[in-house]
């Protein structure tokens, strides 16, 4: 391919897409042509409303480039600035949060989201000065840092924050226009970063929406890797979002009681299950007990032989996404007769059977174990207490006695795997990672 052809390929659409040309001086292909790029400053000025700026020098010398990079602010700087102004200016808070939700969890999410978006917007505003002229030096570094901080700032599952980050990529400039650009991974760093951003969204189960796609299309062109990826994500993630039968709310609540209720709902299999919350005060200790029991379980407690013991066992773990809950069960020994295989040879008796209409208590029909009667025990109740101590479990049994008077006649054995020591930190990455043990 002759030089002329290559040049024509690369310089196609120059007249219509000026910003691209300018931005090219920053890209690895086009520094070759940087000398040709400065003859249309007038139009540039019109586009960016720039005046009195010597564009030629700015883009052609390496010196200014280094200065620009040095001037880059880190994400933390912006975030701290927002945090500080937010803390000091109560008025601003009131002004910004007229529509704040009454729900504390939601309120928290809203404030965190606003802080993050504000910090990113601040950066975008700062770097869209006439001097920067759409270049936004150092935005990859900014994005890297911001993406890394998202989890600890509590916005990793918030789509608005990701949208704000996408807006950091300068629009229009990186859309490939020529064959060569299409072919050779135009602006590789930016594309890689955008892919990383999308991957992080996927990891956090954030489903990109229409706006995300539009934003990325405006930045990377409609057919690039980035947009193709986001399209796939929109298509598949939306299909998968409802496949989980134990779907949790997108933002898990912070309130331990609400978490406990969610966990109990998840682990209760009986359709008639009732979840009760007892608020107990013991000495100067106040705590809640969330207890799940169904009428069928009450019935079984009622019919439980007086002498036979029951056990309170635990704590077992149940996970709500990345949060862990400890629960305890009230268990009785299983009735082994229920699980015995019939000894009679059924083959002799194929055409003679008794129906439910023949006798008051048909002897043929053996009772089937219900869902609570398992081979290793009969589960009679479940609970999650706020502090998971033995004392709280004793209170639980006391609370259960209201609905199950028979419980007071039954010896109850606490076979706990010392819940105090087993107590699991509910928050914090480190602990959780250590605690994940594959279920055997």
């Amino acid at each position: 391919m002759s030089w002329c052809v290559l040049q024509r390929l690369l310089s196609r659409n120059y007249n219509t897409c000026l910003p691209r040309k300018v931005y090219r001086s920053y890209s690895y292909v086009s520094y070759l042509f940087s000398n040709n790029n400065f003859y249309q400053c007038d139009t540039l000025k019109n586009i960016y409303k720039i005046s009195n700026v010597n564009l030629t020098r700015k883009f052609s010398t390496t010196k200014t480039c280094t200065q620009q990079i040095k001037a880059t602010h880190s994400f933390d700087e912006f975030y701290t600035a927002v945090e500080e102004s937010n803390a000091s200016l109560e008025d601003l808070k009131i002004f910004k949060f007229l529509n704040l939700s009454d729900n504390p969890t939601e309120r928290d999410i809203q404030i965190k989201r606003w802080m993050f978006v504000e910090a990113v917007d601040l950066y975008v505003e700062k770097t869209t000065t006439p001097q920067a002229a759409g270049l936004r030096r150092g935005h990859i570094e900014f994005l890297t840092q911001a993406l890394g901080r998202m989890k600890e700032l509590g916005v990793a599952r918030d789509i608005e924050c990701y949208k704000a980050l996408i807006k950091v990529f300068p629009p229009d400039i990186m859309v490939p226009m020529t064959l060569m650009q299409m072919e050779f991974y135009h602006y590789p760093k930016q594309q890689e970063k955008a892919m990383e951003l999308l991957e992080q969204m996927e990891d956090n189960a954030v489903i990109p929406d229409q706006e995300t796609r539009d934003l990325l299309t405006a930045r990377f062109g409609p057919k690039g890797h980035v947009v193709r990826r986001v399209r796939k994500m929109i298509y598949w993630l939306r299909k998968f979002q409802n496949t989980n039968p134990y779907k949790l709310p997108h933002h898990l609540p912070n309130d331990p009681l609400e978490l406990a209720l969610l966990a109990l709902k998840k682990i209760s299999v009986d359709l008639e299950n009732e979840i009760k919350v007892f608020n107990v005060t013991e000495g100067n200790l106040k705590f809640f007990i969330a207890s799940a029991q169904s009428p069928m379980q009450c019935e079984m407690i009622k019919n439980h032989p007086v002498g036979a013991p029951m056990y309170v066992e635990g704590g077992f773990r149940v996970w709500l996404r990345d949060k862990c809950q400890t629960y305890f069960i009230l268990r009785a020994d299983s009735d082994s007769k229920l699980f015995e295989l019939p000894t009679e040879d059924k083959h002799e008796n194929l055409d003679d059977f008794e129906t439910m209409f023949d006798a008051e208590k048909p002897k043929d029909l053996t009772p089937k174990p219900n869902i609570h009667q398992q081979e290793d025990g009969t589960i009679l109740g479940m609970c999650i207490t706020e502090n998971a101590t033995k004392d709280s479990l004793i209170s639980w049994i006391r609370c259960l006695q209201d609905a199950n008077p028979n419980l007071s006649n039954i010896p109850i054995v606490f076979t706990l795997r010392s819940p105090e020591e087993e107590k699991i930190a509910i928050e914090g990455d480190k602990d959780i990672n250590e605690d994940i043990v594959p279920a055997s």
Binding site: R231, F240, Q241, N242, L271, M356
Partner: protein, 658 residues
């Protein structure tokens, strides 16, 4: 209110694209079918680049900003086309609201109404008293429920058909209120809305929309029920030509006792072009204050007891000529228009009630146990629930498909579809309510519980707004008429087979080939999610069989098909099943494609419905093919004739000696 101005359909709006899109079918086949919806989108976007287009992820919708020409003028009526064996594949792309925000917005409207109906309205008391308390009516007015479809400029909510259908789901929770509201706005004030002049609208609608005035629709007379043309009420023009004087009586008028504004249909004498005098129906707006209006005492009814139904008499009531709706003598068309446009919402109302009922009954089945087994574990009970769910699903799908079709055209033609929705949903409601009572056993029969009320309320659905029998005839005859126009040529040729040998061959094939249900070349399965291929094929086969049956009937009976009511009934039953299948398959396909919650459940529902419908269609087609002598129609008529001859049951008592 940008939201409701945004268009609903993707490709339906872009009819000019259709032909081009069809050319792309071969490309699409090369794609994995799962990605086809994506592909559709990009095609649409590419060709529409001049417009403001937002791509829908599912490939279902394209938004375009409001302009007067945004909505296509009118649609090609889907069901009528089915009679010709042509299937508009667009109907398999279940339409949807233009954006998720619009759905949220709709839910915001619905939530307070739902709360009102569950917390404030005491349906039992209304049923016992036979009257809706004034307070409740006032609050309904405050919620804006009296002017749901009235434009905003006249103080209404300006809901489109879809949103109206959604609200109808909630208002249906109390049958009496639902009927009162329907009598008021679906028929009562509809005349003013669709055919009134601006002055009439300005004068009447604001007060009607707030519920300050109630409206009633006066058509039925002692001598004329389903046959609207035979009314006797008469309006005579005064000599100065400024006033009509109305005389006559109307019966069973919903809201008759409480309404202030009546839409009355009466015969007037007009002179046609040839100078001959004729009696033709004219529609009038009559205020109670005009004088001479008396209403009888409220009727005591089986169901919907809280709604006010009574006779209304007009004795020389003067009506100024400005109060004529439309033109003098044009009343019949208006009456038909009003009735046709009001029916579609019955599907969603029915689904609304049934969803509630299924919920209650499921609670009962979970709790109650017999023979040491929970009711929910009995297969016979499970079957009943499945049947109810399938019916409700089909009902809901049909209702919303029709509503969304109505919304996407300026002058939609969906009267046949609406009638079919009404037939299907009224019968479905009755069957399912009855099944619910069966599951509940003795409990359901007791007045202590609300279930028997729902059953009583459901009975009226099959009777009013056109009895189901009339609507069945309407459906099949409208379709037959449509097909007949096109088949005229064919029929002519068929009558003279020797000069048209090609046709003869085809007729022979029809005769001997048992071609009545063969898979054609519609390729419907290409339009839906691959997991619904079997259902799409079933639909396709049925459509082909249906077309052949229609053609056969038309050739055999010609104009006299009008008298073959039993065959017409079969035809309409098939058409209803076809429409329901289309709606179910389209809806499920959409749900699977965008991964809605429980879409597997939807798939099962559709599978079961399509299997059932396919079998029903098969049976009906076989009976049509057999003809009146073999399928028992003649015998049926014979039995009835004997009964009439004997003025009752004619068989002798089994204990009698000869």
């Amino acid at each position: 209110m940008m939201a409701h101005r945004v268009l609903k359909f993707s490709k339906r709006n872009l009819s000019q694209l259709l032909s081009r899109r069809n050319n792309l079918v071969s490309f699409e086949k090369a794609l994995p079918s799962i990605l086809r919806f994506e592909f559709h989108t990009s095609v649409v976007k590419k060709q529409e680049s001049k417009e403001v287009v937002t791509q829908g992820e599912e490939g279902h919708y394209v938004e375009r900003h409001d302009d007067a020409s945004g909505k296509p003028k009118t649609n090609i009526p889907f069901v009528k086309e089915l009679f010709m064996g042509r299937f508009d594949k667009e109907m398999l792309l279940f339409p949807q609201l233009s954006s998720p925000e619009e759905y949220d917005h709709l839910n915001e409207i619905v939530a307070p109404v739902e709360r009102f109906f569950s917390e404030v309205v005491d349906s039992k008391q209304i049923d016992v008293d036979g009257k809706i308390p004034e307070e409740i009516l006032r609050q309904l007015g405050e919620l804006g429920l009296f002017g749901m479809q009235v434009p905003e400029e006249y103080g209404g909510l300006a809901l489109d058909a879809t949103k109206f259908a959604r609200l109808a789901e909630v208002t249906a929770l109390d049958g009496a209120i639902a009927v009162t509201l329907a009598g008021h706005q679906s028929i009562g004030l509809k005349g003013i809305l669709i055919a009134g002049t601006d002055e009439q609208k300005q004068k009447y609608l604001p007060k009607l929309a707030t519920g300050e005035h109630m409206a009633a629709f006066c058509l039925t007379e002692p001598s004329s029920g389903s046959d609207a043309a035979s009314i006797q009420t008469r309006a005579t023009l005064s000599e100065d030509g400024k006033t009509f004087y109305l005389n006559g009586g109307k019966i069973w008028i919903t809201n008759g006792g409480i309404a202030d504004i009546f839409t009355v249909f009466a015969k007037t004498e007009i002179t046609d072009q040839n100078g001959q005098k004729q009696d033709k129906i004219t529609a009038f707006i009559v205020e109670r204050e005009f004088g001479g209006v008396t209403s009888g005492k409220p009727e005591d009814k089986l169901g919907i007891r809280g709604s006010n139904t009574c006779e209304v008499h007009f004795d020389n009531t003067p009506i100024p000529v400005e109060n004529v709706i439309g033109e003098v003598g044009g009343g019949f068309k208006i009456a038909m228009n009003i009735l046709n446009s009001g029916r579609f919402s019955m599907g969603s109302s029915g689904a609304g009630i049934l969803k509630k009922l299924i919920g209650y009954t499921a609670e009962h089945a979970i709790q109650r146990s017999q023979f040491e087994t929970k009711l929910k574990d009995f297969q016979l009970i499970k079957k009943k629930f499945a049947k109810m769910a399938v019916t409700t699903y089909a009902m809901e799908s049909m209702a919303y498909l029709t509503a969304l079709t109505l919304d996407s055209y300026e002058e939609p033609d969906a009267s046949v579809e609406a009638a079919m929705v009404k037939i299907f949903s009224s019968e479905g409601c009755w069957d399912c309510a009855s099944e619910c009572l069966q599951i509940l056993g003795g409990l359901g029969y007791m007045k202590t519980y609300p279930y028997e009320r729902y059953l009583r309320d459901a009975r009226i659905l099959m009777i009013f707004e056109g009895t189901n029998e009339i609507l069945r005839l309407f459906t099949s005859l409208m379709g037959m008429q449509y097909a007949g126009k096109e088949l005229k040529e064919f029929a002519k040729k068929a009558a003279d087979p020797l000069n048209n040998p090609g046709l003869l061959l085809e007729a022979l094939k029809m005769k001997f080939g048992r071609q009545s249900k063969s898979k054609g070349n519609l390729r419907l399965h290409e339009e839906v999610h691959p997991s619904l291929q079997v259902q799409a094929d079933q639909l396709e086969e049925s459509v082909n069989g249906f077309h052949l049956a229609v053609r056969k009937l038309l050739i055999k009976h010609g104009v006299k098909i009008k008298d073959e009511q039993l065959q017409l009934e079969r035809i309409s039953n098939i058409a209803i099943d076809l429409y329901a299948m289309t709606a179910c398959i389209g809806r499920t396909s959409r749900s699977i494609c965008i991964g809605l919650k429980n879409c597997d459940h939807e798939k099962t529902l559709t599978r079961v419905f399509c299997d059932d419908a396919y079998a029903r269609i098969d049976k009906n087609l076989a009976e049509i093919e057999k003809g009146a002598q073999l399928n028992g129609d003649e015998l049926t008529c014979q039995i009835a004739d004997t009964i009439f001859e004997n003025h009752g049951y004619a068989a002798t008592h089994p204990l009698a000696h000869s």
